[in-house]
């Protein structure tokens, strides 16, 4: 695991020295700014203020905007991780060093996750603004951010896995986008399948939409935590095996 740190540092360097991270962060913040404006505007003109929905819950839950932007941002964040190293051959120099496959995968994943967190940090300002103007449930805000972190962590793990499996960045990007979309659509099955059936239960369990609604309203369900734990660990495990398999290819 001693190789984790240098690889992590290099990945962060690669993210921030190339325009990629900055482009993604700027695009993300523009979209989130518009999103925030719409939410605030909506609540400012609301006549019926007895509704129990808060702007905070509307910002993080019950909106497709959150996922739309992640569908666009996660694939380009993770597509490079392995596919690019494989194409350019640098993976050969990397793996010739005394590095374990697991530490390579974890370091690259951690760097992507850090970038993701950095991307979200400025949005804390919105929460502060909401708190200044009206009341704010601090615990709900914390759980909303926990949800954002978990959803992102799961998505990035899927993306990292796709990058380890794909031969080119582009293929990795497409795979990731479709995987995220497929997961989201299965979750949407919650609303179209009949209640009480197994399929409905499965849909509810994997519904990112449903999870975020819960997190946004301050509800931290242990089943959600287990789901995201799986969504993070399983793809990373597969990625590690895939990278290991190159050696025997």
């Amino acid at each position: 695991m001693r190789s984790f740190w240098p690889i992590y540092k290099r990945e962060m360097f690669a993210f921030f020295v190339t325009p990629l991270a900055w482009v993604l962060i700027v695009a993300f913040l523009v979209v989130q700014g518009m999103h925030f404006f719409l939410v605030v505007d909506h609540f400012a003109h609301q006549v019926d203020i007895t509704s129990d929905e808060t702007p905070l819950a509307a910002f993080f839950g019950n909106t497709v905007l959150l996922y739309l932007v992640l569908f666009m941002l996660v694939p380009p964040m993770t597509m490079r991780t392995f596919a690019e190293e494989r194409r350019s051959g640098t993976v050969e120099t990397l793996m010739s060093g005394p590095v374990s496959t697991a530490s390579v995968v974890l370091a690259k994943y951690a760097a992507a996750l850090t970038t993701y967190v950095v991307m979200w940090i400025p949005t804390v300002l919105y929460v502060v603004i909401l708190g200044r103007i009206g009341g704010l449930d601090g615990r709900a805000a914390a759980s909303a951010y926990l949800g954002v972190l978990l959803v992102g962590a799961g998505y990035l793990a899927l993306g990292t896995c796709a990058s380890a499996l794909a031969r080119s960045q582009f293929v990795a990007m497409i795979w990731t986008a479709f995987a995220l979309l497929a997961l989201f659509i299965v979750g949407m099955g919650e609303f179209v399948t009949r209640e009480g059936t197994l399929f409905h239960d499965v849909c509810v369990h994997v519904s990112v939409w449903g999870h975020m609604n819960d997190f946004a309203s301050g509800l931290v369900d242990s089943r959600h935590l287990v789901f995201y734990g799986t969504l993070i660990v399983l793809p990373l495990f597969i990625a590690t095996r895939a990278v290991e398999a190159w050696r025997w290819g």
């Binding site: 240098p6 640098t90 050969e92 120099t93 990397l94 010739s96 060093g97 005394p98 590095v99």
Partner: protein, 316 residues
């Protein structure tokens, strides 16, 4: 390295290769393109697993003690892949840290590696903007930065200009003083220039190994191409009774010169060949034909391989 085999599906890239490299040796890995050199080196560097067989570096098995074995190796892959967005010094610092060079030693090791590989003057340049020659040297600097006992360089002179090739060969020779070096190449003279021992690989098989001088001996000319001022008929006449010459055939030329190839008798030993060449020249001069050019024919790597693959046991 014992009984190493690497298969890709049904294609056998490396077939039952075994060899040993001693401490402080510079070993040249010689073979035509596609012979299995790179595959063998990649296995040796711990980047690729073998289908069967085993490899040990500095006493550590490359599969069972992979990390420990890889600590003792500095490897430069064939195409010298580098991270284009990094500066040379940043890249080497990263590599040194990755190769577990302690923080206190890191700056010094990186400086020394840059100095030896001759990249000090481009230390602060982005790798993206480097010429092929400098990239190659950065690759070598990377291989030596952690001062590993074993250095593996895959085609270190590929794509360099003659000046850079000379520099690279000198560097390899110098590295051989402190490290065990394995270099691959498809150019015979390259091995002769820097290696003490040669491993010849062909179609994934180790066809011969021996001291560089043994291989040099195999590289004997089979004929000489001679250009004289005069007619071919006169030259042919003069060579009829020259000892050691098996046959004479005319080659294309322009008046007033005649060019021909005088093939040595197969039984002629290596030591006798220069004598035969002298006799050919004497015969020409004796016949009143001015010799304007004498060039050895044959003895290329291909000829050596042709000889070896027909009779692989020849060398030992």
């Amino acid at each position: 390295m014992a009984n190493l085999t690497k298969r890709y599906g049904t294609r056998v890239a490396v077939d039952d290769v075994s060899f040993e490299v001693g401490r402080g040796e510079v070993v040249g890995f010689l073979g035509p393109n596609g012979a299995g050199k790179t595959t063998t080196l990649r296995i040796l560097a711990g980047v690729l697993g073998s289908t069967s067989g085993s490899a040990t570096v500095a006493g550590h098995d490359l599969v069972r003690a992979s990390l420990e074995a890889r600590r003792h190796i500095g490897y430069m892959p064939e195409a010298v892949p580098l991270y284009p967005e990094m500066r040379v010094v940043e890249y080497l610092r990263f590599r040194a840290e990755l190769k577990l060079v302690t923080r206190s030693q890191r700056a010094r090791f990186v400086d020394e590696a840059m100095d030896r590989a001759g990249v000090l003057e481009v230390a602060n340049r982005t790798i993206d903007h480097l010429s092929k020659g400098y990239r190659q040297r950065v690759g070598i600097a990377d291989a030596i930065v952690a001062k590993p006992p074993v250095i593996i360089l895959d085609e270190p002179t590929a794509g360099l200009d003659p000046n850079q090739i000379r520099h690279a060969r000198a560097l390899v020779r110098e590295l051989g003083r402190e490290h065990t070096v394995v270099v691959s190449t498809h150019i015979l003279s390259e091995v002769e220039a820097c290696a003490t021992r040669v491993l010849l690989i062909h179609h994934g098989r180790l066809v011969a190994q021996g001291a560089t001088s043994d291989i040099r001996a195999m590289r004997q000319a089979v004929a000489v191409d001679v250009t004289v001022r005069g007619s071919f008929a006169a030259a042919d006449q003069a060579l009829r009774c020259t000892a050691g010459v098996a046959s004479v055939e005319p080659l294309e030329t322009t008046e007033p010169f005649a060019r021909f190839r005088a093939t040595f008798e197969g039984a002629l030993s290596t030591e006798d060949r220069p004598g035969a060449t002298e006799r050919i020249v004497n015969a020409m001069v004796g016949a009143g034909l001015g010799v304007s050019e004498v060039r050895a024919y044959g003895g290329s790597l291909e000829d050596v391989f042709a000889a070896l693959t027909q009779d692989p046991g020849d060398l030992e």
